[in-house]
Symmetry: C3
Subunit: 316 residues, 3 copies
Amino acid sequence: MKKYTSVHDVADLNQLVAEAQHLKENPFKYKNLGENKTLGLIFLNPSLRTRLSTQKAGQNLGMNVIVMNLDKEGWALETQEGAIMNGTTVEHIKEAAAVMGEYCDIIGIRSFPKLQNREEDYNEELLQQFIKYSQKPIVSLESATRHPLQSLADLLTIKENAAAGKRPKVVLSWAPHIKPIPQCVANSFAEWVGQADVELVITHPEGYELAPEFTKNATVTTNQQEALQDADFVYVKNWSSYTEYGKVLTDGEGWMLTNEKLQATNNAKVMHCLPVRRNVELSDEILDGPNSLVLEQANNRTYAAQAVLKRMLEAL
Amino acid sequence: MKKYTSVHDVADLNQLVAEAQHLKENPFKYKNLGENKTLGLIFLNPSLRTRLSTQKAGQNLGMNVIVMNLDKEGWALETQEGAIMNGTTVEHIKEAAAVMGEYCDIIGIRSFPKLQNREEDYNEELLQQFIKYSQKPIVSLESATRHPLQSLADLLTIKENAAAGKRPKVVLSWAPHIKPIPQCVANSFAEWVGQADVELVITHPEGYELAPEFTKNATVTTNQQEALQDADFVYVKNWSSYTEYGKVLTDGEGWMLTNEKLQATNNAKVMHCLPVRRNVELSDEILDGPNSLVLEQANNRTYAAQAVLKRMLEAL
Amino acid sequence: MKKYTSVHDVADLNQLVAEAQHLKENPFKYKNLGENKTLGLIFLNPSLRTRLSTQKAGQNLGMNVIVMNLDKEGWALETQEGAIMNGTTVEHIKEAAAVMGEYCDIIGIRSFPKLQNREEDYNEELLQQFIKYSQKPIVSLESATRHPLQSLADLLTIKENAAAGKRPKVVLSWAPHIKPIPQCVANSFAEWVGQADVELVITHPEGYELAPEFTKNATVTTNQQEALQDADFVYVKNWSSYTEYGKVLTDGEGWMLTNEKLQATNNAKVMHCLPVRRNVELSDEILDGPNSLVLEQANNRTYAAQAVLKRMLEAL
């Protein structure tokens, strides 16, 4: 595997999930694989779960892990081709990526969209330039439009918790938030789960339609109650508008998932990628109740990352 | 050992000190003990000695160490039960602690008191919630009211430097500072040394009485000169008022330890947990002189942490 | 080797370069050498290449590496002897250095000049105090006046790319920048290359003369065109004025290296320590063209650091 940025980089989705599950049971089995290999993790935005789980995944495989918080360490990158760099950017991504490529065997990078210009964000310029200039295998640690390590962990979590012999109904349910949030987790979840053997329903208020390329295999409705009917899994997530790009169109009153709403489901398990704003996105009663899978999802992040890193190490 | 937050978590004080001393002589003897174990160190406040010494202690035991500076990385935690998180906190401690617990085998956490509300600080809510929600062994890297790794290192330092066959006189002597400082180092020192086979005297200006639960085994006096008489060790430390909570009541003129004052002692060794404000808390002549133990104390921090981590690893 | 702060700490320049080259070919050959040894890297200024390459060098030698970003972690150091520390500094360098010395076997430190007071900067007070008080081997990760790991990597790069049997002509060519930049890279390059078997020419606008102690073995001219004639290597770098200390005296129009200017050279290889401001210091066409060695230089930083650390480990 040379890059891991979306579901399209994965030829065999089920095998990759199975590999993550195998690593969860045998986390240290491949500890020699990463010996003398360096994993560089670059963050242009803060991270808790992603940093810790990917760092741990690399260590489980015996890698040396170097973390670089470019945002906090004041290293503003230039991304424009041909820029005359007489302003605030101190280094062009051409050099920064290529230099990281000299030091690292595999590179993970996190960046967020600015939510100002849709085309710019959806071009994934930063990620694409890193791939181009680093010349090393690149793992997306969340990009402007996708969060593929989260999605792999989510699929693993669904697989582990699905009832045997039944095609589960999975609902991606929009939730309120106090500020504009990227679409990447929702995009990515829809893209991944849409390729798995599940029934996918997406529900959100008017105006929150995701980009059509992500929702091809989903039923989309603005009727949350209908969507939740007989659901086996409810994935709760806020995102800002794609059509009126980056905007918050409603305060979302009534969209927060509660135990009452859960009654319409098939005793559904509830998922969220975290961090979650309690009693805004999701109620205390659900997060503290028996149906929540959020910690299992977070734990599975380690093995999702480990499966991807293992494949990259094998292909070095 | 499941938690290490105060002297009350230690059943056998003398054995733990002896264990730290043994590790100082054999730092790499137990390097296999921590293999494939992850130590997560979480800082909600800056740290130099604690971070380095605990990181080194974990590495000496073969652990993988992951450091998270939550304060600098902009991860504001919510601690209030039932909070509607529509403000500035991005994650509830319930999730943050539980997720860290998924990734780490042992967790160290540092937080400071706000010095605004005594009851709140002395309830140690953040530390208690971390213990409750992480479900993993927790080491306090300094909390609102105590600094138990410092105290263990201090006891080791006293043991190493005490004259044979004599019960030493140890004086905790308040010192001036320019701003309000927590009581935790003083509390903790009094609590630990009060359980050791020493004579403990605490001296401070009027109004700086520590909370009574910490000073049960100490003689307390506002007469510094009297306190210093025949002392074998003087532990110098500033703290703000406990009774007029968090206040600085005096500029402390005359309370800084000098060589002249040291003449009343039994050529006492001088201790301080560092960082120290030279010529405010403690004079150059003492810090640069032969009686200072401050570097030895700092060095002993590694072996104090290592003794605690070793016990936790053995109990996993 | 007990300290590595300038070329004067190196008895056998050619052998050290050869050692770096040997390590580049055999990076993991001495992995047992650093076992159970701790490398502490202290940054008082941000760093990308230096941090990553030195961290990697230490790991290649089997060391534990601990990074401390003192600037970002809010740990302001006092350096003045006898200071009454009632202001913003929280710890004296005497304690900070000595404590780091307790925890680390080798210490790397980066600090920049303030460019306010020449004598103060050129006294290298911070670096000298760290050497004095830490009592451990110290590697300069760039100081107020020199950048010796960069220079060693630069010499290795020249050696690898020089035509056999010919004494190469190396030109250090001043370049424009938008703000005052230290002289350290230029000083250090002149000092190192001046001791190698090359012809060294330095060219810069009037008023940018480096301190004479660094340029003893160089020809200096303000005529860039003349300097570039038949050059085999051009090292591009901005620096602020030494004589009118820290000042930017000109916008440097016409001094940026271009392919047109390169025609006067012997198809010269172009070097820069990075980060580089594209189209201000150096043109896109050169950085993206076949003559650029900038990535090779960055890569060689690892082996320069590794050669120095190896010698220090051998001398412990």
